[in-house]
């Protein structure tokens, strides 16, 4: 019985394949429009996945806890002495103070991120040189040295130059010598970055002595992040304590929200396609009606014709799914999701050349499938039933 059932399904599938081929123009038009809808949704989904993964891998090396001081609801400089209070907390591996801020350059209208810290104090301080394409990292004692990102080199035309200057708040110029340039592979983090010593950053931003922007706190046991964060918050009540997991989740929520918003907009496209699919499936030509009535009179049951229609729908949607997802992959990986970048990543003079390569699992494909193929199959049920209930006697009238 099982063998007969299987043989029946295979026979009907065979017929469905030939039927799809015989009406290839109509099916091709449906398939192409469907593939376009899938392409849009899949691109969005893949872009979100890639950005989430990029953010996760980027944040993996971030400090477990960042401590900032809040005054009147806004971030303010934090006294260096607070670092001494943190040292007493058990479980903290290292505390790295840093001075950082944004520096706007009027001529090229670019916003650069300037960070001042002691490279040797970082957990992987000795390996920082590996991030450079050329040059070397400065030491804490060196004055007026900076390591810059590729975007900084490009926008300030530093290719052939070894020095550049930035304005202090009092419009005096602060000179910097380029000691190194970050490698292109680190662009996600370093494209707009200028890293210099704490003293130079303090000088540039005119931060008073004894103050820094925030502390990077490194924790020995990641499982203890929340506990230690709680202790810091208790000990320093005027600070904001950010944990790495929290930042990761925030990125994911933001990307998820943007993706969801984009999906809502694309749902209108999907709705339009579903109506189109319904319309195409409903339109039974006289030849199709005749074919079905012939099949019925030759001994095909209504259920058999419904099965043919099911396989036809599945074949067209499977093909559209494969084409749509493949094009989406190419769009995201080869063209950097060019269609959706402004929505997902915003706009700036220095737009990072982020190479998106989503690592997709079955779950991602099931998600795209649920958005696209399910509504299509649902839309074709009633037209399929209408086709399957064409009376057999119309073949002999």
């Amino acid at each position: 019985m099982f063998k007969t059932t299987l043989e029946r399904q295979l026979n009907i599938l065979d017929y469905a394949l030939s039927s799809v081929w015989r009406r290839r123009l109509k099916n091709l038009s449906v398939m192409l429009v469907f593939a376009a809808a899938i392409f849009l949704l899949a691109s969005f989904q893949m872009t979100t996945t890639a950005l989430n993964q990029a953010a996760s891998s980027m944040l993996a090396k971030a400090p477990e806890i960042t401590v900032q001081r809040i005054s009147a609801g806004r971030q303010a400089s934090i006294p260096l002495a607070y670092g001494e209070k943190l040292k007493a907390i058990f479980g903290i591996r290292r505390i790295v103070p840093r001075i950082w801020g944004y520096h706007f350059v009027e001529p090229n209208r670019a916003n650069y991120t300037v960070i001042g810290l002691d490279p040797a104090a970082m957990p992987s301080g000795k390996a920082l040189g590996l991030t450079l394409a050329k040059g070397r990292f400065f030491t804490a004692g060196q004055k007026g040295k900076a390591v810059v990102g590729q975007g900084v080199v490009k926008t300030m035309n530093l290719a052939d130059r070894r020095n550049f200057s930035l304005f202090r708040p009092d419009l005096t110029l602060k000179p910097f010598g380029i000691s190194g340039v970050f490698a292109p592979g680190t662009n996600l983090l370093t494209d707009d970055l200028i890293v210099t010593t704490m003293a130079d950053a303090r000088d540039l931003f005119r931060i008073p002595a004894g103050m820094v922007t925030d502390f990077c706190v490194y924790v020995a046991n990641p499982a203890e992040i929340q506990t230690i964060a709680g202790k810091i918050a208790k000990r320093l009540p005027d600070t904001r304590v950010l944990t790495r997991p929290q930042i990761q989740k925030t990125y994911q929520v933001v990307f998820g929200w943007r993706s969801g918003f984009g999906s809502v907009c694309l749902l209108t496209a999907l709705a339009a396609f579903t109506i189109f699919a319904w319309d195409k499936a409903s339109g039974l030509s006289p030849e199709e009606r005749r074919e079905i009535s012939i099949l019925k009179i030759l001994g095909w049951e209504t259920a058999d014709v419904l099965t043919v229609r099911f396989w036809e729908g599945l074949l067209v949607s499977a093909l559209a799914f494969a084409v749509g997802c493949t094009l989406a992959w190419i769009h995201v990986v080869k063209f950097g999701a060019a269609l959706f970048r402004p929505v997902m990543m915003g706009w700036s003079v220095i737009s990072t050349s982020l190479h998106l390569v989503p690592d997709l699992a079955l779950a991602d494909f099931l998600l795209i499938f649920a958005f696209t193929v399910l509504p299509y199959l649902a839309a074709t049920i009633i037209p399929a039933w209408r086709a399957a209930t064409v009376p057999a006697d119309s073949a002999i009238r």
Binding site: T4, R8, N11, Y15, G299, E301, D393, I396
Partner: protein
């Protein structure tokens, strides 16, 4: 008796304004192995009678027993299963699917039954050889001649080896030569014990010596 109709009535759109009584108390018995011709003008009810005999739909009232099965209010599914097993149809314009090849057309009735491709091919080729058109098996149906099309239609009707063959105006679009060829094949089928009912008003059919009985139908009633 292979086909037995007692007071069979068929009403379309019963209970509605456009109600039509297509068959009115038909009584008819057709023994197995016989060849009967049903003659009537368009709208006389002959297609409806053929559909009842062919288990396409059951009668509204009366008893219709076809190949041992009482049809009264059988669900469509069982009518189809019965039809598949016991009835072979030859249509007025053959109703061959033009884009399928000859072999696929002939084996169409075998697909929903779960017959394997190899078995289907075997049965199909056997019939095509019997009707001398095996050499055209891979040709699309719209690429063969009218005579070959006729033989494909007959082969398809026989693929399930049904005891009853129903032919609806089979010679309406054929020339004299092909009509005579068709009747020759039909006589041959009668010789091997098939029960055949042909609807026609073509003298080449009605005056053929193989036809044992002619029944006239007018306004849904039989006239012997």
């Amino acid at each position: 008796m292979l086909i037995e109709l007692q007071d069979v009535t068929k009403i379309y759109n019963q209970g509605q304004a456009n109600e039509v009584k297509a068959l009115d108390r038909i009584n008819l018995t057709i023994p197995s192995g016989s060849l009967m011709c049903l003659r009537g003008a368009s709208g006389s009810g002959k297609s409806t009678l053929l559909a009842v005999i062919g288990c396409v739909f059951p009668p509204t009232s009366g008893r219709a027993t076809i190949a041992g099965k009482l049809l009264s209010r059988l669900p469509d599914r069982f009518l189809t299963m019965h039809r598949r097993q016991f009835i072979g149809f030859i249509f007025q314009q053959f109703n061959i699917l033009p884009e399928l090849n000859v072999l696929d057309n002939v084996t169409l009735p075998l697909l929903p039954v779960g017959i394997s491709p190899r078995e289907r091919r075997k049965r199909g080729l056997r019939l095509l050889e019997q009707f001398a058109i095996a050499h055209r098996r891979n040709f699309a149906a719209n690429q063969i001649s009218g005579g070959e099309l006729q033989r494909v239609a007959i082969a398809r009707a026989l693929i399930n080896d049904p005891p009853i063959i129903l032919a609806d105006e089979p010679t309406a679009h054929l020339d004299t030569r092909l009509s005579e060829e068709f009747m020759k094949i039909i006589s041959g089928l009668k010789e091997v014990g098939k029960t055949i009912v042909i609807t026609s008003h073509d003298p080449l059919v009605t005056e053929n010596s193989a036809v044992e009985r002619i029944v006239d139908i007018r306004d849904g009633r039989l006239h012997a």
